[in-house]
């Protein structure tokens, strides 16, 4: 039963996203410009880091290639989640104007419909610049590569995308409670993405604790990247913590799913 729901959801997602992509590609030049624009805007975060490193040799004890590794992992993982689920902040608007009810009567899982709503291919821009920075970092860092370290890189990107995706879903669930407060989730999504671009040594212990044990963003890149780079783990976590990302991502995904279902069950239409 659950299997078929997932398959149905993926199919619905593909159909809706395909529709948005077709409408975007109607104006090819405009599409190319928006992807390039998106690449430039999201790439500014890295230019800010480069500006900082034009004045110093290390930040929080981390060198530029090491910070670039964190940045590349964070931007790529966040970019993937943003591409797949980033338009969820329109949910609040849909609840306000009553058009959310349309999604409820369609024979497809609501989460898939909301996720694919306003699917924006321009977000390939963020992924592109994230991958470019990640590529530079992998070449520039001084690491004795082992099989485990090589394997951790794609694991971080995928699990990171799942963790960020869970934040998007949890944020969407919150919009059932507060439709106008869609911007709150920006603090956790974009804010989390920005936070992970910098080394954990930069931040206060309480903040690091919060994004490790409460909102497990540290498992996107901080903890596994510390293993790859041979740096001490944040908070003195045990050795196996570097490999815990898949478990954390799965657990967080389940919790976000439960939050979404609770939100959906609590939904009362505007009645208009």
């Amino acid at each position: 039963m659950a299997e078929s729901t997932v398959a149905e959801g993926l199919r619905a997602y593909r159909l809706i996203a395909g529709m948005w992509i077709r409408s975007l590609l109607t104006y090819r030049t405009s599409f190319v410009f928006t992807v390039v624009g998106n690449l430039l805007i999201t790439g500014m975060d890295f230019v800010a880091i480069l500006l900082m490193f034009s004045q110093v040799d290390s930040l929080g004890g981390w060198t530029l290639p090491e910070v670039a590794l964190l940045y590349g992992l964070s931007a790529t993982a966040f970019g993937l989640a943003d591409l797949l689920l980033g338009s969820m902040d329109v949910l609040g608007g849909r609840i306000r104007d009553g058009s959310f009810d349309i999604l409820l009567v369609r024979p497809a899982p609501v989460l898939a419909q909301v996720g694919a709503d306003h699917f924006a291919l321009r977000r390939l821009g963020r992924i592109t610049q994230g991958v470019l920075v990640l590529g530079y970092a992998l070449v520039a860092v001084e690491v004795d590569w082992t099989a485990a370290k090589v394997l951790l890189v794609p694991v971080m990107v995928v699990c990171g995308a799942v963790i960020f995706g869970s934040v998007f879903v949890a944020g969407a669930a919150f919009q059932f409670v507060a439709q106008d407060a869609a911007e709150v989730q920006n603090a956790f999504t974009y804010g989390g993405g920005t936070l992970l671009q910098y080394p954990p040594t930069v931040f206060g212990t309480d903040l690091v604790r919060g994004v490790t044990f409460v909102l497990p963003l540290a498992f996107v890149n901080w903890v596994p990247a510390a293993y790859v780079l041979g740096r001490p783990y944040p908070l003195g976590l045990p050795d196996w913590a570097a490999f815990a990302s898949p478990v954390v991502a799965f657990g967080f995904c389940v919790l976000a799913g439960l939050a979404w279902r609770a939100g959906l069950r609590a939904y009362r239409s505007t009645g208009s």
């Binding site: 230019v47 500006l51 900082m52 106008d180 709150v184 930069v202 931040f203």
Partner: protein
């Protein structure tokens, strides 16, 4: 000038419109505060490595970071103020209605944007800045006159900010692509205003250039007035000069644009 009252009413309308969305304002305050915390920690790490970077000490760098968050929506640094509505009206052709009004187009939009700015300053600026002052060491002035001087610099910054965005919005008459304009505004705004790094900490010769651009009037000048890094009169002269130049250019572009509207027949 009996029309003075008209523009005050327009400004009050802009203020009220933004004051209506209380949940959105609260959400914005929360987001600005979270970003402020992240930025402050990165600045502290940076100033740990390079004390006195850009002539600031750590408390001044922290003050600058929180001021940036407090003025972010007030000065619409990434866009999203009155120019957004103006661009939409140019695209749909509703701008023709604005031209029929017995009011000056530029002053009308300036008043509306100032109303928005003042609300955002109170509604979205005060709380993050106060939060920063409570939880981090800041370099805040003791004298009331410095605070007043700072508020004057913020008011001038609002006008400069509008001047930049009004010019950008009028480009719609020729380009008809609001997304490209909005993206350009956002990149230039975030970067050249010093949202990522104080302009005095930019590496030279890049820093010399960026400190002469109009965006330097937005965050850097009020920050330096507040922290006594620049004489208020020097800051005002710089800000007022840019405000006048931008508003004059806006008028020139506006008359060229409105002639186009007439030629198109509405």
């Amino acid at each position: 000038m009996g029309s003075g009252r008209l523009y005050v009413a327009v400004a009050a309308g802009g203020f009220r419109r933004y004051a209506t969305y209380r949940a959105a304002t609260a959400a914005g305050v929360f987001t600005n505060t979270v970003f402020g915390i992240i930025l402050v920690y990165t600045y502290l790490a940076l100033w740990d490595e390079r004390p006195h970077l850009g002539g600031y000490d750590q408390t001044q760098a922290v003050t600058y970071a929180w001021l940036g968050q407090a003025l972010y929506s007030t000065l619409a640094i990434q866009g999203g103020g009155a120019e957004k509505d103006l661009m939409a009206r140019i695209r749909t052709g509703e701008i023709a209605v604005d031209l029929y009004r017995p009011a000056d187009l530029q002053l009308w939009w300036l008043a509306s944007d100032l109303g928005r700015s003042i609300f955002q300053l109170l509604g979205r600026g005060v709380i993050p800045f106060t939060f920063g002052a409570l939880f981090f060491s800041m370099a805040l002035p003791q004298s009331v006159t410095t605070w007043v001087a700072f508020l004057v610099a913020v008011a001038l910054a609002m006008i400069v900010s509008f001047g930049i965005r009004y010019l950008a919005a009028l480009m719609m008459f020729w380009l008809m692509d609001d997304r490209g304009i909005a993206q350009t505004l956002m990149i230039a705004g975030i970067f050249c205003s010093g949202m990522t790094l104080p302009l005095n900490a930019f590496p030279d010769p890049f820093g010399d250039i960026v400190r002469t651009l109009p965006w330097a009037a937005q965050l850097q000048m009020p920050a330096d007035v507040l922290m006594g890094e620049v004489s208020p009169w020097h800051a005002y002269a710089f800000q007022a000069a840019w405000a006048l130049v931008l508003l004059a250019l806006g008028r020139l572009l506006q008359s060229a644009a409105t002639r186009r509207v007439v030629v198109q027949g509405g």
